[in-house]
């Protein structure tokens, strides 16, 4: 039974809401009262908040129906717990970024309407990426995210760094997308269909030889690797992250990256893997066809985290340091991908959720410092722990969580990733990753050291306070709570992640579940 367009849309309320908000933002910017600054920001934040609420409601609805999987638009889009998980992550990230950006003076001066409408479109892109099950849809979704991102990274028009970032991003992005589409065209040639399901069947039938499969998947991997900034496609990341407005950087490093992981997992796990038993998706998965791609991804993961961690050592700009750290984290998350198991996917989801809070928190701290009159250089953070105790403490917590120290959420995330590795026998990989995370301590602590241990700027004997205001304090607190709470009691998040594991399309009667 094919659903009508309207019936299809009824499952996509969050997406519809995003689109409507985006239209309203544009309308308000064009026709709204010019003197009232901040109105657009509020509208956008409200829209994102409502979207977040809708996502949560849909999630509950799905849970009530027990793993329901709803296929829409001729099987090219699916609404399932897996996609809802990523929508949740993206909505939280976009909401927090929007709230933060609303107090950034430079964005206000440049034109809020453009910023928020672009932000909303990128969020829509991530939403679409989380649910696509079709090559054409995949390309459309990725470009929906990418093109506004290029504009956003160059949002500060008069700023050379920002413009450079935008240009770099476009050039790298276009190349990566091009390679990806080329790879996909080969896939279509092989399978004769664009749906993941069909391609998976073609792979299983053994029609493709190893060489052409590797070529195709390698080309596709370039596109995905670019999105998640995995080595060797990570070169753009430091420059773009450093040059872009910090709010955009925060967004790129969380929601955009999560979107990249969503398609990566969905694509590879629904085409090249299948749960050993359909009843237990948490168990090991079997490879479809040649399983050597896991080794390749393992190597990529190792290179990615090592490069990220080593390069972060010498950075003196906090944003650039965090950029390299986010490369390293892409490497960690890929570890779960290698394991070919439900536990692996679960650990990735768990890590992404936790990572969003701690990484956003770290970038938001940078924004708060900048807006309070500081800067983005490491030297601007000197004595911050004494000048603004709450900000210092929060930033330290985010950084230690990124390092993976208990009792913070980042540790639990790493714990599950390593657990998935050890469970599947990848012990050497777990050892390398564990040593990497120990090494990463050095540069995270460098920031903490600057904040607490180095000379405090004083004025006539008193510490010069740095006031970040209530708005930023509350938002930092919102990021801080999950960073700490999920380090002490993370069962709810684990349950959510575990329930969202099922990715691959069910073999039997895909449309039957779309019942009313």
């Amino acid at each position: 039974m094919q659903l009508g367009v309207l019936e299809n849309l009824s499952f996509m309320t969050p997406e519809v809401l995003l689109t409507v908000t985006q239209g309203a933002v544009v309308a308000l910017e064009v026709w709204g009262p010019k003197y009232k600054k901040g109105l657009v920001a509020r509208l956008a934040a409200t829209g994102l908040g409502a979207t977040l609420l809708m996502v949560i409601l849909t999630y509950f609805e799905l849970e009530a129906k027990q793993r329901t999987r709803v296929f829409l638009f001729a099987d090219s889009f699916v609404v399932d717990p897996f996609s809802m998980f990523f929508k949740l992550v993206a909505a939280v990230s976009a909401f927090l970024v929007a709230m933060f950006a609303s107090k950034v003076r430079k964005i206000e001066a440049q034109g809020e309407g453009e910023f928020y409408s672009l932000l909303l479109v990128t969020t829509l892109g991530v939403f679409l990426m989380s649910g696509v099950t079709d090559l054409v849809g995949l390309v459309v979704a990725i470009e929906t995210l990418s093109i506004p991102s290029y504009v956003l990274s160059g949002f500060y028009k008069r700023d050379r760094g920002s413009s450079e970032a935008s240009l770099k991003y476009v050039l790298f992005g276009a190349t990566a997308s091009g390679s990806m589409v080329l790879g996909m065209s080969y896939l279509y040639g092989l399978a004769g269909t664009t749906s993941f399901q069909g391609i998976s069947e073609a792979m299983a039938s053994g029609r493709a030889d190893v060489l052409s499969t590797s070529l195709m998947l390698g080309l596709v991997m370039i596109g995905f690797g670019f999105k998640i900034s995995a080595a060797p496609f990570h070169m753009w990341t430091p420059d773009v992250y450093e040059g872009s407005p910090t709010a955009v950087t925060a967004y790129l490093s969380t929601a955009s990256k999560a979107g990249g992981f969503a398609v990566l997992i969905r694509f590879f796990y629904s085409i090249l893997a299948r749960p050993e038993s359909a009843a237990n998706p948490m168990g090991p998965w079997l490879p479809v066809g040649d399983p050597s791609w896991t080794s390749l991804v393992a190597v990529i993961a190792v290179i990615t985290m090592t490069i990220g961690n080593l390069a972060a050592y010498r950075q003196t700009n906090v944003k650039r340091l965090l950029a390299y750290s986010s490369i390293a984290h892409a490497g960690y998350i890929l570890l779960g991908f290698v394991t070919l198991s439900g536990l692996g996917i679960m650990s990735m989801l768990f890590y992404i959720a936790v990572y969003v809070f701690m990484n956003l928190g770290a970038f938001l701290s940078v924004i708060a410092v900048t807006e309070a009159g500081g800067g983005e250089e490491l030297s601007d953070f000197r004595g911050l722990g004494w000048r603004s105790p709450f900000l210092g403490m929060a930033m330290a917590a985010f950084l230690f969580s990124l390092t993976g120290l208990p009792p913070l959420a980042g540790f639990i995330g790493k714990f599950y990733l390593f657990a998935a590795l050890v469970n599947q026998g990848w012990i050497w990989l777990a050892v390398i990753a564990a040593l990497n995370s120990a090494v990463s301590l050095y540069y995270y602590v460098k920031v903490v050291k600057t904040m607490y241990l180095e000379g405090i700027p004083r004025h006539q004997g008193d510490v010069v306070p740095l006031r970040i205001g209530t708005h930023f304090s509350i938002l930092l607190f919102i990021c801080l709570v999950p960073t700490i709470v999920f380090g002490i009691y993370w069962q709810p998040l684990q349950r959510l992640a575990e329930w969202s594991v099922g990715v691959s399309a069910p073999v039997e009667a895909p449309k039957a579940t779309a019942g009313k």
Binding site: P407, L441, Y442, Y489
Partner: protein, 509 residues
């Protein structure tokens, strides 16, 4: 009293929160809250001692609550004879250290809050019987320690703090991987689930998969050993220790040497040995050799130091070597000696560092060669130093002697020629220990005043009441347990014997 261990662990944490909520101006109040928060565990420690049943190796004061049922992680706190001694020591030393830090006046709130957080971590490590919980507490200690050294430390504090942090973290991430290997390859026979429970993980019959391979077990043991050896610290992983000790403020040096080092040997006895008994047997000689290297090398390094604090730091390296020798012996007497040395060294080294702190607070340096003839100026202080030095060099009648003697007996009892040679070599350490202690004593306190650095004598005042208050309980304990060690030996004996028998039961094929 069923939650006594949780109370002892978490009351300091509550105290830390209260301190953070106090207004900045109320410094004295913050110190009083800290003293109360550290006093409660000491008070409870008394009941713990009274209530502890000797003569059984079973776990006591057990608290078991599901924490994360989906991964079968439990909040499992319990103590046996090995833990109870460390818990008592931690409660005592932490309480004393609050008073040793009374003169801190920079960032008072932060200091005491971090200190109490540290105490929570230390207590937790000694009480946790779930590997995951153990690991969390083990890591929780790192953060406060980093800040306590890094903010309140000496001139090279930043270097020392990060070095300590990095060394320990590298060791503990290896432990994390081993922990996961055990989790996935051990099934609880009762429930059929994987588990982190240390008491089940040691069950050799519950294992399968990778743990059946000798190579995996060997590498796991080495990884665990390195993780704990860094903390002990065992040569060649000891280089963080002199830096951290020298730069840390007095009270933190006391905690470092008095308790944190013991976590290394405690970890070996609680985790590495019972979980991998066959590998422990295989590596025993190796551990003994490292112990002797520690003893002799540490003593030689101590002798070469002109910085009094660095000398004391290296003496810790030397003294922890006795623990390793006792452990490597694989005999009950050796294990007992190791445990006794952990306790005795905790008391004695605390006294030593407190004494160093006393003179440093007055003249702001610790160069041995710049002193001379102090005995005539500060006789009471000199008395305490002589007492501490003699205790440290193992004078009969003090607890250090008992411990060292037991380690030697244990090593000799092993019976194989190599251990007898090791024991003979190790006795060299006693000689060297006496040498560097007495030499320092002579240069600093005896003879005439130093002619070149006379201006420094203006500041030397006699030891004050607060400092005496810190030293006296330790001194009493050193003498009491030196003359009459039975209460301590009774506490640990059953658990130690059980551990020895367990390890002995799985010889290396």
């Amino acid at each position: 009293m069923s939650h006594i261990l949780s109370l002892m662990t978490f009351v300091p944490l509550v105290g830390a929160f209260i301190i953070l909520c106090l207004p900045n101006a109320k410094q004295e109040l913050a110190k009083c809250v800290a003293a109360c928060a550290a006093g409660v565990p000491l008070f409870l420690a008394f009941f713990l001692w009274r209530g502890f049943k000797t003569g059984t190796a079973a776990m006591q004061f057990v608290e078991k609550v599901d924490w994360i049922p989906m991964f079968n992680i439990q909040y499992h706190m319990a103590i046996d004879g090995i833990s109870v001694i460390m818990v008592l020591l931690t409660a005592l030393i932490s309480f004393i250290c609050i008073f040793a830090s009374w003169e801190i006046n920079k960032g008072v709130k932060g200091y005491f809050a971090l200190f109490l957080l540290l105490e929570t971590g230390m207590m937790g490590v000694f009480c946790a019987m779930d590997f995951f919980l153990f690991y969390v507490f083990w890591e929780v200690m790192l953060l406060p320690m980093y800040f306590l050294i890094g903010i309140w430390g000496g001139p090279r504090k930043e270097y020392a703090a990060i070095k300590f942090f990095m060394y320990t973290l590298v060791g503990s991430v290896l432990m994390l991987v081993v922990m996961l290997v055990f989790y996935f390859n051990v099934t609880d026979p009762a429930t059929g689930k994987h588990t982190f429970d240390l008491l089940i993980l040691r069950n050799q019959e519950a294992r399968h998969g990778a743990l059946m391979l000798e190579g995996v077990r060997f590498i796991s043991f080495i990884a665990l050993f390195i993780g704990f050896a860094i903390k002990v610290p065992v040569f060649p992983f000891h280089t963080w220790l002199p830096d951290a000790h020298v730069e840390a403020p007095t009270a933190i040096s006391v905690i470092l040497a008095g308790i944190l080092l013991k976590m290394g040997t405690y970890g070996l006895m609680r985790i590495a040995f019972p979980l991998l008994p066959d590998m422990a047997n295989q590596c025993a000689v190796f551990i003994g050799v490292l112990g002797v290297i520690n003893i002799v090398y540490g003593a030689l390094c101590a002798m070469a130091q002109d910085d009094l604090k660095k000398m004391v730091a290296y003496s810790s390296v030397s003294h922890m070597g006795y623990c390793l020798l006792g452990l490597g012996a694989m005999t009950t007497a050796g294990f007992n000696g190791c445990m006794m040395q952990m306790f005795a060294h905790g008391l004695i080294t605390a006294m030593l560092f407190l004494c160093v702190g006393v003179i440093y607070e007055r003249v702001h340096h610790r160069w041995i060669s710049r002193f001379g003839g102090l005995a005539g100026m500060v006789p009471v202080y000199t008395g305490f130093v002589i007492f501490a030095f003699f205790a440290s060099l193992g004078l009969p009648g003090m607890s250090g002697f008992i411990a060292e003697a037991m380690c030697f007996i244990g090593a000799w009892q092993n019976g194989t020629p190599i251990y007898q040679k090791l024991t003979v070599f190790a006795t060299l350490g006693i000689l060297l220990g006496a040498a560097f202690h007495l030499w320092a004593l002579q240069r600093m306190f005896l003879g005439e005043k130093n002619k070149i650095y006379t201006e420094q004598y203006h500041h030397v005042t006699e030891i004050n009441g607060r400092e005496i208050f810190c030293l006296v309980p330790l001194a009493i304990a050193v003498v009491v347990f030196g003359v009459f060690p039975k209460p301590i030996l009774d506490l640990m004996n059953s658990s130690i014997s059980e551990l020895q028998a367990f390890v002995h039961h799985y010889p290396h094929p």
